[in-house]
Each structure stands twice: as structure tokens, then as C-alpha cells.
Symmetry: C2
Subunit: 412 residues, 2 copies
């Protein structure tokens, strides 16, 4: 009975004297993935070894070619780059896409500050206030923040762990479409599930997009991380070349998360022009990193192939070892470097907190990302956690031993 | 009679088959400053010398310390920085502010991707859909783009060239405040006018902010460019320390436009926390540039003092030489590196186009930024142009000779 209504909350804040911040700012969540981080640090200080399975920051070194390129840049002035990207960068992105049989011209690409900006620009380009975008949940938790900045609504459709988080039939998806739905936003391969949508699933989405006059926005930042069969891009589907938009990033594939270089690409001129206009407002993307990534974009596989082989090994170990833990629900993730696991617990947030605050097994514990942070629907994912494969295979195995021990001694 | 209503426009686009983009994307303007650029390039190819007075990209070299720092960075992995900024960067920003007698803690600062992101975060933090922010026009044209991304309204109050674009009395400002006004956004020193608001003017705005429960957002990216007296920051006004927000950028003062490093700073915890949450959504700001700017932020004046002296010389030359052109209206800009000039023409866009397309004086012409691009009010600024001081004093003098000759032979 101590919960305040929104009006009361506003009043209370006003009484302190300062003007109130916006409702969207108040309702934007802290990163749920980072929540338990401070506790983990305290635990480490006490000598407990913590396996960090919570966050998708690749643990492998950045290719030295990035740093070499930067050291060799001959610049005397750091001036604004063109708002759509430096010509060399645009050409490198075009070359990159051609290695995946995606045929784009430079003028169909906008270089962005990370994949994040590409997503924000795409949402602003297709939605006005009150419009919504379909997402499949569990979804990348930062989509909430992007929706808040762009001031649009996410329209979540739940997927099931039993289906390996593959898509439901068209009829089920169509039920969620409203008069204000402007687009479907997918993450393929998916963060947080590791699911790769098949060509048939994408064709089904394409048909829905055509029938209901929607854009299909596809966050393909994990494109390379496909362990069994290659990823179909929305730009491979000629039937929707007028409404498919790729949102991209170099962060994960080249392990350059701190470079903040992404891209938006589409054959739809209006979308590209619109992203260009939003790009003009923010002037340009960091020049040094645009240039630093040219070599890797121009010949990506030399760097990504060994990394993907490494992550395949890790996925296989996690999948194999999960079989030895009683009561867990899981599936074979086809890509990315995550898996959502159903645990035999009622409240995975409580379990994750207990793990990091109290539990230890031979001086070790595990940091997990609780499932609810990846869902918009209330109480969904409450027994799930996301595991990120950011440790070598042997370490991942040990982390799963700790989880198994924790589950057997956990009192709900 | 050929103008389409919005409904008709939607229908026409729909008939082409693709889904329609958002109204905000359609209504976001192309950068008016960059519009005539392509024409200027063509003219150059024909051997005409073009003086570029249209754009605020500093022409002086970046301090070599930036490139040295980058070359000496010992990084093996380009990982995400913390969403509020690298600790070294936050400390450098704190030190920077202390050289201006602005006392901030690291936790009161968020490092942003350029000043642009700081402005977008501040607008999202104080406004929901339908809310408005007061701006004084003429204003920095990209505020339109930021408002479109953040999905908020600008509420423009016109200033007068005869007043040197200083503020009107409080009563005049208060007339524009609506029930949805959440903040006043100023640019001080101002782009595009070069005006520096006096402490009294800022105190007047502070009183209005207190009386009407508004935030005072201050874009102070030209802080150093103050030729006669130093700039008063909104963070110098203790009476509004709970509602003053500084939006900042290193681009102009250190001539590092391509680095994209800015900041948001405030004593208001909610605002900083809100910017931090939006920051978490976009993960981080480029690590290399955050580190590269630490030396300049820590001891800024060594680099900025000679630059400011150079720009003062340029301002003085422009002010002096304008006196010899019949029929122009102008004033002494106190800061930044711009001046708005009233010309004896009816339509400055037409004049600027004619200058760059047709006119030449001894094989030379001038590229100007037409006034209307800096106004939201229709037909405002139609006889004005913005001049940017991006040439050395001697060249600026020659450019003004060209403008004088052009005006005397121009047929309206």
C-alpha cells in the first residue's frame, strides 16, 4: 500500500523544489544486465572467483590491424566526416556486404555510432508518437531504451523456450498487429536466445510485412556467429527489398565494442534519406574508428573465422554440459553467443542475487543475467537466465558445475 | 493548389508500394548550411575561388597532443567503456570545469558522443511527447533535428538583430511559456549570432525557470570563444543549481570535430541519472577519443588561448569591414565565431544561390548560410545570412569585398 500513483510521485518530486524529469526518463530501466555487477565486485574482493556469464563483451583480443591502422593514420586535423560516413568507410561497408552476397551501393548505407544509433534512427524513421514496432520476446534489453529515446512503443510477441525461441505461425503474429504497427524488429541471430531464423521464417515475416504494409528491421550484428548454417539477411529477400532495413555493428564480430561503429543499410531510398537527415543533425561519426575498421570490413573472414570456430566450441560445451543439470530447460542455439536457460526455480532474479551474494562452491560462484530483464510482458521469463559464452570452454564447464551445485542446495 | 494534404501525401506514397516513413522523418529538414555545398564544388571546378563562410568547421590544425596520445595508447582490446564515461575522462572533464570555476563531481558528468548526444539526452530527460522547450531564434539549426529524434516541440522566441540578438524582457519571454513548457534551451555563446548573454540576462532566465518550474539547458560548446569578457555558465548560478544543465563538446574549442566527444553536466541527480540510463541503452562512447582528449581537458588554456586570440582578430576584421558595405545591419558579436548580418536584399536564400551559381568578382565568390535556416518562424531571417569566421583575417577581408561587389550588382 506504499506504492505511489504517478500523480503522487510527481507531487512528491515537485515538493523537493526541482522541476520534474520526463515520464519516459523515469520509466527507462537501468541495464538489468549490469545490476548485479557491483555485488560481484564486492564478492571478488573477498577472494571468491566469479564466472561472469552475464554480459556479452567478447573476451578475445581486438585484431592488431585496428591499432596498426590507427597508428599509421596521417591526420593533421580531426574534422567532421560527412554525415553519412567517410567515402572509404562506405566503400568498405559495401565490400563487407558483398562477401555475404548482399549487393548494396554506398548511397544505400549510413555509417552510425554503433548499432545503437542505427536502431534509434530506424525507429525514428518509421514511427511517430503512438506508433508501435513488433519485437519478439525475449529481446535485447536495450531496445527498451531506444524505444524510450525515439518515443515509440514496443509491441512484444512472446516466444517459447520449447521451440528454441523460433517464431510462431503467421496467424499468431498477425493477431498482435495494430492500426499503429509500423514495423517488425528482429535480432537475427538473436540476442539473448542465440536463435537464427530460417529462410522460411523470414519469408513468412516478409509476407506479413507485405500484407500489412510494414517495414522489416533486422538487427544483424551477430551475422558471423552462425554455427551450422549461414544467416539469411533480410536484404537477401528480394520480395521485400523496398521495406527491409539492416541494422548493423562491428562491435561483436571484430571485437571492437569500444569503437562504436555501426551502419544502417536499405534499398529503400526514403529510409536511407531519413537516416541521413537524422545523421546530419548529429553531424558525423568518429573519423578515426571509421578508418580503423576499413581493413577488417574489406576482408572480414580472416578475422572472424577463427573467432566463430572458438565460439562454436563454447556453445557445444555449454549445450553438452547443461544435460547434466537436473530440471533445466534448454535448446541448441544456432548462433550469437548466448543461450536462455529455464531453471528449476520460481524467481531467477532472486536466484541470481543469492548466487552472487551468498553462494559459493569451492570458492567459486557465477554472475547470471536474470530472464525478466529481456521481457516486456510482466512475470515472463521469471525462471529463465541468459548465459553469455564469454569464457573459454574449460571455464564455461566449471561455471556450469557451480550452477549445478547451486541449484541442488538452493532453497526457494 | 498543388499542395497535398498529409492524408493525400500518405496515399500517394502508399500507391508506390512501399510502406510510408514517419511524419517526423519527412518533416526533418536537410542541413540548410550544407545545401549549397554541391554547387560550390561545381563552381570551384570551373576555376572560381570560393570563400566558404557558410560552415563552422574550424580551419586550424588539431593539437598534435591528440594524435600523440592516440599513438601512445597501450590497448589490446577495444572494449566498451562504462556508459557514463571512462574514469580518466570523467576526471579530466571535472578538471576542465574547475579551470572555469565550475565545481562538479565525476558523478555529475556523463560523457556523450558529441554535444549532439548531450542535447538529445537532455531533451528526452525533461520532455515527453507534446511538451515543448523554449529556444531563442535564430538558433542552431540542428536543434530541429534533435527535437525530431526526441519527438518534442521547439517553442521559438524571436530575437532582434538591432539588439545584437540579446534577450527581450522577462515579460516577453513569459508570454511564450505554455502549460507544456519544460525547459529553456540556450546556446551561450550563441551559434549562429555570436551573442554572449550577460550574467544579468542569465539571472533573468534563472528567475523565470524558478517561477515556472523549468529546467535551464545551456549549450556552452563555444565557452572559450569569448572576446571581451568571460562567459557566465548556468552552473555559476547557485540559485538554479537544481535545474541548470550544461551541454558541452570538445569539437570547437580543441578543433576535434571528428572526435565526437561531448558531455552533459548538472547538479540535478535525476537529470544525470536519466542521461546515464539513456547512455546505458547506447552502451558507451568511443574509448580512444575519450582518452585522446584527457590532456587537453586537463589543461585547456594552453591550446585554446592562441586560438581565441586568432578568432578575436577575425571578428574584429569582419566587424570593421562590414562598415564599408552600404545597407547592411550588424552588431559586435561577443563570442563564438559567427555573425548574423542583415543584407539589403529581400530573399537571402535567393541571393546566396545567385552568389554561388552566377556571380563572380575578379574570379572569386562567397558561400553563405542563408538566415531562414536558423529560424523556425516562417519568413523570419529572410534578409539575413550567417558568416562563419573560418578563414584568416586577410581572406575574410577579401570575402567581404566580394560580398560588397555582389550587393552592388545584384538585381532583386
Amino acid at each position: 500500500m506504499t506504492t505511489l500513483t504517478q500523480d503522487q510521485e510527481t507531487k512528491v518530486t515537485a515538493e523537493t523544489g526541482s522541476p520534474t524529469i520526463s515520464t519516459r526518463a523515469r520509466s527507462t530501466q537501468d541495464s538489468p544486465i549490469r545490476k548485479l555487477y557491483a555485488t560481484a565486485m564486492l564478492r571478488k574482493e573477498k577472494g571468491i572467483k566469479v564466472y561472469p556469464l552475464n554480459i556479452g563483451q567478447p573476451d578475445l583480443p581486438t585484431s592488431p590491424v585496428v591499432f596498426e591502422t590507427i597508428r599509421n593514420l596521417k591526420l593533421s586535423t580531426l574534422s567532421y566526416a560527412p554525415s553519412n560516413g567517410l567515402p572509404q568507410a562506405l566503400q568498405a561497408w559495401r565490400d563487407y556486404y558483398r562477401t555475404f552476397d548482399i549487393d548494396l551501393e554506398e548511397r544505400e548505407i549510413i555509417v552510425t555510432t554503433g548499432g545503437s544509433e542505427a536502431i534509434i534512427f530506424s525507429l525514428c524513421s518509421v514511427c511517430d508518437y503512438g506508433d508501435d514496432v513488433i519485437v519478439f520476446e525475449p529481446f535485447y534489453t536495450n531496445y527498451n531504451g531506444f524505444a524510450s529515446i525515439a518515443n515509440i512503443k514496443l509491441n512484444p510477441i512472446p516466444l517459447k523456450i520449447q521451440d528454441g525461441f523460433h517464431l510462431p505461425p503467421a496467424s499468431e503474429i498477425e493477431k498482435h498487429i495494430t492500426s499503429r504497427t509500423k514495423a517488425i524488429l528482429i535480432c537475427n541471430p538473436s540476442n539473448p536466445t542465440g536463435t537464427i531464423y530460417t529462410r522460411e521464417e523470414l519469408q513468412c515475416l516478409a509476407q506479413i510485412a507485405l500484407k500489412h504494409d510494414l517495414f522489416l528491421l533486422s538487427d544483424e550484428v551477430y551475422r558471423e556467429f552462425a554455427y551450422d548454417t549461414p544467416v539469411t539477411s533480410v536484404l537477401h529477400l528480394s520480395e521485400i527489398s523496398d521495406r527491409a532495413v539492416v541494422l548493423d555493428s562491428t562491435s561483436k564480430r571484430f571485437n571492437v565494442c569500444g569503437a562504436r561503429i555501426g551502419a544502417l543499410a536499405s534499398h529503400n531510398k526514403e529510409i536511407v534519406q531519413s537516416a541521413f537527415k537524422f545523421g546530419m543533425a548529429r553531424l558525423s561519426v568518429a573519423s578515426i574508428e571509421q578508418l580503423a575498421l576499413v581493413p577488417l570490413l574489406t576482408s572480414p573472414r580472416t578475422y572472424t573465422q577463427p573467432i566463430v570456430d572458438e565460439f562454436r566450441k563454447r556453445r557445444d560445451v555449454v549445450y553438452h554440459d547443461l544435460a547434466s543439470i537436473p530440471g533445466v530447460t534448454y535448446y541448441m542455439p544456432e548462433g550469437a553467443f548466448y543461450i536462455m536457460v529455464g531453471l528449476p526455480v520460481k524467481d531467477s532474479e532472486r536466484f541470481a542475487r543469492w548466487l552472487i551474494e551468498e553462494f559459493e562452491h569451492d570458492g567459486e560462484t557465477v554472475l547470471l543475467a536474470p530472464g525478466p530483464g529481456f521481457y516486456a510482458t510482466k512475470n515472463a521469463g521469471s525462471n529463465e537466465v541468459r548465459l553469455a559464452f564469454m569464457l573459454q570452454a574449460g571455464e564455461l564447464s566449471k561455471a556450469l558445475v557451480v550452477i549445478k551445485a547451486a541449484l541442488s542446495s538452493y532453497r526457494q
